[in-house]
Amino acid sequence: MLAYITKRLILLIFVLYGVGTIVFFLIHMIPGDPVDIMLGDSAVAADKDELRKNLGLDKPVLTQYVSYLSGVVRGDLGTSIHSREKVLDEILERVPASFELMCGAMFIAILIAFPLGILSALKPYGFTDTVSMTVSFIGISMPNFWLGPILIIIFAIELDWLPANERGGFFNLILPAITLGTAMAAMLSRMIRSSLLEVLGEDFIKNARARGLSEKKVVLKHAMRNSMIPVITIIGLQVGVLLSGAIITEAIFDWPGLGSLLLDGINERNYPLVQGCILFIASIYVFVNLITDIMYAYADPRVRLQ
């Protein structure tokens, strides 16, 4: 296990280095002079020079690259152009809102997916199965930037049950969380269904039934535990989908999270902020993947040997 974790950590460092490199070169992909684009054509020459100096764009690319990476390692993601605040501070300020939204979405997804998946697996091709699998197929195909507006039309405008703007109490979280969580719920319920179906056909389940255990115990204790391994992976992988889906959901609901910070940065052409956000989100994703893999290896020792 230790060897596996070490191997994964080495890979992690490599991946983070690659991510940093890509993010660094983003600013050099801007067609034309990045400073002109950031400040606009009407800016004063002195301002431009100052910004160029602050961003280090007057130095050779290699020097910039080294100083950017060393800054990132020390937790210095640069300075935001307009507000002149530290990029990292601006990002950390938005993390709680994003975290809240993600937890809400995850909660909704699990709340929907587990009952649906289990019920479908218990009576495959029955009525519940047909309905829930059709619903989940639609859920996978429905883009969340369409689901969000429709939820707003139905629950916020027509019925006026739930608020649909900005962050606030518990009720403000419901609609964004459903918007973000539906796709994950759809994916997860299909996964739980197929995984549970597979396990229910195994010999140890027959054995458990033969021993006279109640069906409830057979399913919930014996089958569920063994079918959870692929489900853990899907949950881990879906965190990435949540992270990027959150950008759109936050845009729909004016949610003050990382996603809207990134979009604001793009609209203001505040490239240090954009770089910082992308680096931050990608790093979170990499770490979540690492934790998922380790949990997976812990649950299924065969993985470690591969």
Binding site: L11, M29, F137, I138, F145, W146, P149, V241, I248
Partner: protein, 405 residues
Amino acid sequence: MTLKNVFEKFTLSYLFGIVLALIIYIVDINLKISSVVLILSATLYSCTTYGKFHRYFLNKDEKTIVLFGFSIINLTIQILMMLIFIKVYPIEDPSKVILINIGVSVFVHPVIIFLSIILAEKQLIRKGFIKNEDIPNNKLKKDMGLFIVILFVVIALLAPLIATHDPKVINLPESLNTPTLDHIMGQDQNGSDIFSRIVHGARISLFTGLTVVFISSVVGIFLGLVSGFYGGLIDTVLMRIVDVLLAFPGLLLAIAIVAVMGPHILNVVIALSVLGWVSFARLVRGQVLAVKEREFVYAARTSGQSDLRVMFMHILPNIMSPVIVQATFSIAGVIIAESSLSFLGLGAPPGTPSWGLMLSEGTKELLDAPHVSIFPGAAIMLLVIAFNFIGDGLRDLLDPKTEKK
């Protein structure tokens, strides 16, 4: 059920509808009578479709079971659709009945046929006539998907002919008008005709979807083949690059690339291709590793064929099926991605009839005019579902293992 059969059914249904409408037009009966005739005819039609599916699944038995039970459901759907139609599009003049009839055919019959298939299947399984694995469900699914996709491709190719108005015409006094007979999906915030914009938007979605998947599959297949075939340093380097690109969740890297390059549909294609090849390369590499130790590859190599020939003529044809399935799902993914980028204002430039952009402009008017955002969203979803259907169907057809499960 081949595609030809589905096609025949649709053509028949259209012809049927048009003939009926012509009769109504000539006889000039009043609206109520004509809608009753419409409903009856459509129900009759859906009953026969349903019966045909029954017989098709039974294959041996000519008698159709429980046809009536479910034709009641069909009837209800038909009546509901008709009521919505009449409510939304008030008719002043009977010649418009033709249009309505075609409209009913277009919207109702795909739904009815699809429901008939599902219901007929389920009913027959429940009655024990057939086992679940006997149903060529996935092939049917694939054909349904293919039909919708072909429909969209035709719409995209013939967009200027199908569009009822110029999609770029701005008509501010009529902005946010609800659907009328002239503007069958209403007008958006600029007063442009939504239907025409959706018809033209099909070009953008299909163009992006197909181009990105073409570029990324060509690049991905080539790099995956080389990486899996030669192994060693090339493999290590390529797979580490893949690892790094996979570290960006979902759309994030595409958002970043488009953000620096500026909103343009070609930039979207570039950004999505940069991400797209990764999954193809990984898939192909894995498949190559599994295939390259097989006898036919050894035989080809010992007969002195060049590496390139072995890779492309011997290995590639044997690993194509999962690649095709992946490509189909990718098209659906790219269409959603393009719409998402446009929705965020990073895809198509303002004024372009891109579905994502229309949707995002529509969400600003949610309070006053929900129809502005509902129609483009429905178009995206329909096309995505169609590609997912094809992918699902193809996967099960090409990989018999999963079908038996």
